[in-house]
């Protein structure tokens, strides 16, 4: 009887879960269309690709895409210059101040095409989908509000408050 009740509870509980949608692999035509950003002439800001809008901004609040972006961030040596978002020979990404604009298109283009003061282009190293995953992760890093979809902890050296509780405007420990 208890077992039956438990089983019923489990079924009910599972029915309440909403599975986050994960696109493991984009359809090739969509992947190609993902690169069609319309950029302003000054290289900052613009319109995301139409397919991106049609899919409902899939790289922003999605835990899977953000965690993929976090892995790419390490694998493609972003840390060497930007550290864990705090900056080094490259600027900080988590301080809410953006040299080339805070919007998705600006960040996407910075990664794809590089920027004139030292940022190398990654268009030959990453697919548009991967650049979008990175873009989502990096924008989340410097956002002014914490995101529930952001990673909760590092499986590595603890260097800063984890992404899901680190809004950009919070002060550093020991600093006013």
């Amino acid at each position: 009887m208890t077992a039956l009740r438990c089983a019923a509870l489990v079924v009910l509980a599972l029915a309440g879960c909403k599975q986050e949608e994960r696109a493991m692999r984009l359809d090739p035509p969509i992947a190609e269309a993902m690169d069609a950003v319309a950029l302003m002439p000054d290289g900052i800001g613009g319109r995301p690709p139409e397919v991106h809008v049609a899919m409902g901004n899939p790289y922003r609040g999605n835990a899977y895409q953000i965690s993929q972006g976090k892995r790419l961030y390490e694998w493609f040596n972003c840390r060497g210059c930007h550290a864990d978002g705090g900056g080094g020979s490259g600027p900080a990404l988590m301080d809410g101040w953006w040299r080339y604009g805070p919007d998705l298109v600006s960040i996407y283009v910075s990664i794809r095409d590089g920027r004139p003061n030292g940022m190398p282009p990654f268009r030959d190293r990453l697919t548009p989908e991967q650049i979008w995953q990175l873009t989502g992760y990096i924008q989340m890093m410097g956002a002014y509000s914490a995101s529930a979809a952001a990673p909760g902890r590092n499986d590595r050296m603890f260097s800063r408050p984890s992404e899901n509780r680190a809004p950009a405007a919070a002060p550093a420990p020991g600093q006013p």
Partner: protein, 586 residues
């Protein structure tokens, strides 16, 4: 408007003509210019008007804003009646006329710059150097330029390093026997290190030797006599690396290059191997993180001493080098002194490269003493680095216990070492070489050494091998020291003080508070009025200075190569950028 411009041009031309008609002060030898003396690295000025008795009366004589917010790590240069300042990248070279009541800009030269190089370096640039009637300097984006100091006209301009390969030029060139000798930086980007010589008159390439790879490219031939026998094997620059890893193995020559005219030899250190993660480069990683002696005309190696073989903490050996003539345990000896990033002062016989002594100048725990017979440090296995793991509490921390600016005074016989006293946690992670991106594979987190202030200036007795005194500083001392024959030591601090100490006992006699932190090298010179002046560039930026700028976020402990955590004590302040300060007695 046009009339004004023509007028300005006429005035400039007139002042240039006047400066040409004035005889250059040829009686001022480079040695009298203090820190500007190329070659011996002693940072010693034979001027003695300023003494412990009058140092407390020093006053600011002039200040000149450089208009740059970068790390002002170089030294100004005095050449005749001109004081020359090279600002951080993107560079401007200013020539100030010292005959005016206050220094005025005689001319300025702004080389075209490739902004891409700004992302390839942390730490500013070396200063300009003079030779004969020419002026030479390196740019961070890889060019070496020769100018006519009277007018600022370009004599030649060559692309010596290639930023597309991760190479930059962050040190000053050295002029030796009619050659401009310079080396590259870029270890953190997997650039292969080299040293090269160019003709001082034309800029034409004469020789170039690498820090890794086959013997022929390293400059190892019949004349090579290493003091320790393992290095006599063939092609150690290949066999001490995993296959092909030497091709992007670092070892840049970004530190001082010394020139010993009587022996005809150049001495230089090599940078750390790439990447930081030591498990990705098993082996001794020759010829990185050691000291070379090279023949000046051919660049062929004479000897090599490994200082940090298989450099676990990516320290490199490009910190200060000094040629010192003094007695060593019973007789006169030509010495090479090298306070290394690993925290030990190396005393070498520079004829053979044999290490005579290597005592620690700060508390270290990464090593447990020095084996003189083997010429090697004894490492502590508890502080080893393993890929995927974090090792805690390693002292000293990267980038090393000292930088390039130690000074030596033959009057006191003391070595003055600017010291960083930090420890670090280091996590090694596997990384992949991608041209143009950082090739590091390590996360660092620094903190001040337990129970000690994070910085100090140490007065070091070379013969006894221990510190005589120290002046503690709350933050790591990044700039250089200058010793003067008058019995003073000058140095600047990261929190913006410029200080004069008694060279004998280390007592602070005078200080000045500037508008920004000081990471530069002070110099002393005799002005056209016959008075002794002391000049220094202030201006943080770079590492650790970038940690004070708006583009470093201190909440990330690994930011600025892990220095963010150690520098959280750095007071946030309005930083107006770089200034040249000149001091004199009223």
């Amino acid at each position: 408007m046009a009339v004004m411009r023509i007028l300005a041009a006429l005035i400039t031309a007139a002042s240039v003509l006047w400066s040409v008609s004035q005889p250059a002060r040829s009686e001022v030898t480079p040695a009298e210019q203090g820190g500007a003396r190329p070659g011996d690295g002693n940072h010693f000025s034979p001027l003695d008007q300023l003494t412990p008795a009058n140092a407390s009366h020093l006053k600011l004589y002039a200040a000149f804003p450089t208009g740059s917010r970068g790390a002002h790590s170089g030294a100004p240069l005095v050449m005749g009646n001109m004081l020359v300042v090279l600002t951080p990248f993107p560079h401007v070279l200013y020539a100030l006329d010292l005959r005016k009541a206050k220094p005025e800009v005689a001319w300025r030269y702004e080389p075209a710059s490739r902004g891409m190089a700004a992302g390839l370096t942390c730490c500013g640039t070396g200063g300009p150097v003079s030779y004969g009637n020419h002026l030479y300097f390196n740019t961070v984006d890889g060019r070496t330029i020769a100018l006519d100091p009277a007018s600022g006209a370009v004599l030649w301009d060559v692309q010596a390093a290639d930023p597309a390969l991760g190479e930059t030029l962050t040190g000053a060139p050295v002029i030796a026997r009619g050659q401009v000798v310079l080396g590259n930086a870029g270890d953190d980007f997997g650039a292969r290190g080299w040293i090269t010589a160019r003709s001082a008159t034309t800029g034409a390439a004469l020789w170039k030797h690498y820090s890794t790879g086959p013997d022929a490219e390293v400059g190892i031939g019949p004349g090579f006599a290493p003091p320790y026998p393992t290095d006599r094997a063939v092609d150690r620059g290949i066999t001490t690396w995993p296959p092909s890893a030497w091709q992007h193995g670092g070892g840049g020559v970004s530190g001082p290059i010394l020139w010993d005219a009587s022996a005809g030899l150049l001495f230089h250190g090599t940078g750390h191997p790439a990447p930081w993660n030591p498990d990705q480069r098993n082996g001794d990683n020759r010829w990185t993180s050691g000291l070379f002696a090279r023949d000046v005309t051919t660049g062929e190696a004479r000897w090599f001493v490994p200082v940090n073989p298989h450099d676990l903490y990516a320290l490199g050996s490009t910190s200060a080098l000094l040629l010192v003539e003094r007695d060593w345990r019973g007789g006169p000896a030509p010495l090479l002194i090298h306070p290394d990033g690993n925290g030990h002062v190396y005393v070498l016989d520079r004829r053979t490269g044999k290490v005579l002594s290597a005592e620690p100048f700060i508390p270290v725990n990464a090593t447990k003493g020095f084996d003189l017979a083997a010429g090697a440090l004894v490492r502590d296995p508890a502080k080893a680095i393993r890929s995927g793991a974090t090792t805690r509490g390693i002292c000293p921390a990267r980038p090393g216990a000292t930088g390039a600016g130690a000074a030596y005074s033959p009057r006191t016989g003391l070595l003055y070492i600017p010291v960083r006293r930090a420890c670090m946690d280091m996590e090694a992670r596997d990384t992949t070489f991608m041209p143009g991106t950082a090739f590091t594979g390590g996360n660092l987190r620094l903190s001040p050494a337990p129970g000690l202030s994070a910085g100090a200036l140490v007065g070091w007795d070379i013969a006894a091998g221990h510190a005589v005194w120290e002046q503690a500083e709350p933050l790591p001392v990044e700039g250089g020291a200058l010793a003067t024959a008058g019995g003073l030591v000058f140095y600047g601090t990261t929190d913006g003080f410029f200080k004069a100490l008694d060279a004998g006992n280390g007592v602070e006699l005078w200080h000045f508070r500037g508008s920004s932190g000081i990471v530069g090298q002070p110099i002393s010179y005799l002005g056209p009025d016959g008075r002794q002046y002391v000049a220094v560039l202030a201006g943080l930026g770079g590492v650790p200075g970038s940690a004070s700028g708006r583009e470093i976020d201190m909440r990330d402990a690994t930011a600025a190569n892990g220095q963010a955590q150690a520098l959280r004590a750095l007071p946030p302040r309005a930083d107006g950028g770089g200034m040249l300060y000149i001091f004199a007695l009223p």
